[in-house]
């Protein structure tokens, strides 16, 4: 009985279909893994590039204007155009999608690393200098830890955006779950489109929660002193951050 109804949900082209999950689990897992690999690689490369760029921008005002201007322009370019612009360079390949995502993530990360470094209280910096800290030690043991909340906020935004933008990679056949969505569109295969879309959103939420957990582990001091008032102020700040970084989904 259950097998009969399960079969029929594929035949009837239902939106929700258990039989689809069972029969195509391998394909779904593969696409999800691809999706995660593309996202993690892109954001990882972007983090490695964002630090030197942010430090450069902090050091020289001219570099700061150039880097911030260039990343803002990159951020304005729609995803489809970004991938298309990179086609002559990479051809149809996964590097094309990764490069596009690195460029988007960079914008968010550089800006947030800079904000974080600028938010380090001057007293903390002066105290460290007074204690005889050199520039490198100051950066790694005082400034970066204090900049961590802003950095992690940027990392979360960049990662969630990357998960979503990876789907557009379907245009060059490297979109992870986006491939399943694109392939199912022409045949109106509803179960596949819905399942892949939901998996995408779940991936984004899981990544966000994972990074939030990591942030709490790395910055225990932001919680320790937390009263209701501080938390509320943080919520206000979050609303303002949200204002700054909203468009990255197309």
């Amino acid at each position: 009985m259950s097998a009969a109804t399960a079969q029929s949900c594929l035949a009837a082209n239902d939106w929700i279909c258990g039989e689809y999950l069972r029969s195509r689990s391998e394909e779904l897992t593969e696409a999800t893994v691809d999706h995660v690999v593309i996202t993690v690689t892109s954001v990882g490369i972007a983090v490695l590039l964002a630090f030197p760029l942010a430090l450069l921008a902090r050091r020289w005002r001219l570099a700061s204007a150039g880097i911030l201007g260039a990343t803002t322009v990159l951020y304005t370019i729609p995803t489809l155009a970004m991938y298309a612009l990179l086609l002559p360079v990479f051809g149809i390949s996964v590097s094309l999608v990764i490069c596009g995502l690195v460029l988007y993530s960079l914008t968010i990360l550089v800006r947030n690393v800079l904000t974080g470094l600028r938010s380090v209280p001057a007293e903390a910096r002066e105290a460290a200098v007074g204690l005889g800290y050199g520039r490198t030690r100051l950066l790694f043991t005082v400034e970066l830890p204090l900049a961590l909340p802003a950095l992690m906020a940027g990392l979360r935004i960049a990662t969630v955006s990357a998960v979503s933008l990876t789907t557009v990679g379907a245009i060059v056949d490297n979109g992870g779950l986006g491939n399943l969505i694109y392939a199912a569109m022409d045949s109106y295969f509803k179960a596949q489109v819905l399942t892949a879309s939901v998996l995408c959103v779940l991936l984004a939420i899981a990544a966000d929660l994972l990074l939030l957990g990591l942030q709490r582990l790395l910055t225990p001091w932001t919680r320790a002193a937390g009263g209701g008032r501080r938390a509320r102020r943080a919520a206000g700040a979050e609303a303002r951050d949200a204002v700054l970084d909203q468009r990255a989904t197309a």
């Binding site: 991938y83 969505i181 989904t249």
Partner: protein, 250 residues
Amino acid sequence: MNAIVDAWAWLTTADHWSGRGGVWQRLAEHLQLTGLCLLISAAVALPLAAWLGHGGGRRLGGALAINISNAGRAVPTFAVLVLLTISPVGEHGDAPTIIALVLFGVPPLLTNAYVGVAEADRDVVEAARGMGMSPFQLLFRVELPLAYPLLMTGLRTAAVQLVATASLAALAGGGGLGRVITAGFDTNNTAQVFAGAVLVAGLALLVEGALALLQRLTDPHRRPNRRAPDDERPPASHRPATTTPEMETT
């Protein structure tokens, strides 16, 4: 380098611009879709934001403002477009594109306008209330003018978002400039893909630049100052008691 030369050749061929499916037609579709959906989004988002930010529902508004933009980031535009296209909505021409565009146009407008109104300087708002302004006067003569920079930021973000989303509509069979890119991919015509990308990216940058300029030109806070900058004025307590509180909000 070849790609740029080829793309230039494509762009300078008059045939590619005129007629059915030409660049002019696609551009017109793109602008129509974007403009229409920006109006609908603003009509939905702005009254809601004004009500939430001005009224007592501020706690609800804050949560909504943060979450709606986070959600907008986590949900892939491409997935929403395809889902709408293969749903019953897809039988009605441009309906899937319009609905998707409005869905992604509302969050930046709502969040920015809400934060702008809710965070309008409380002292000024209290002063206005003390002067006997009605809630409507308060909203239109104090809170909205104070929120103006953020309102415009929201409008700009939404407009760029809509231009980007409209280009993705081509992937799901909709119109707009994205069609130039997808058609190029379908026929393995790299020159056309690149040319289309230049057009889409150019349009996005143009919209961003034009609105940034408009924002700068119309910002009420940038009008020629009729009073000295704050730091040159004597502190309020030193001024004659007869001075009315300054209400320079327009």
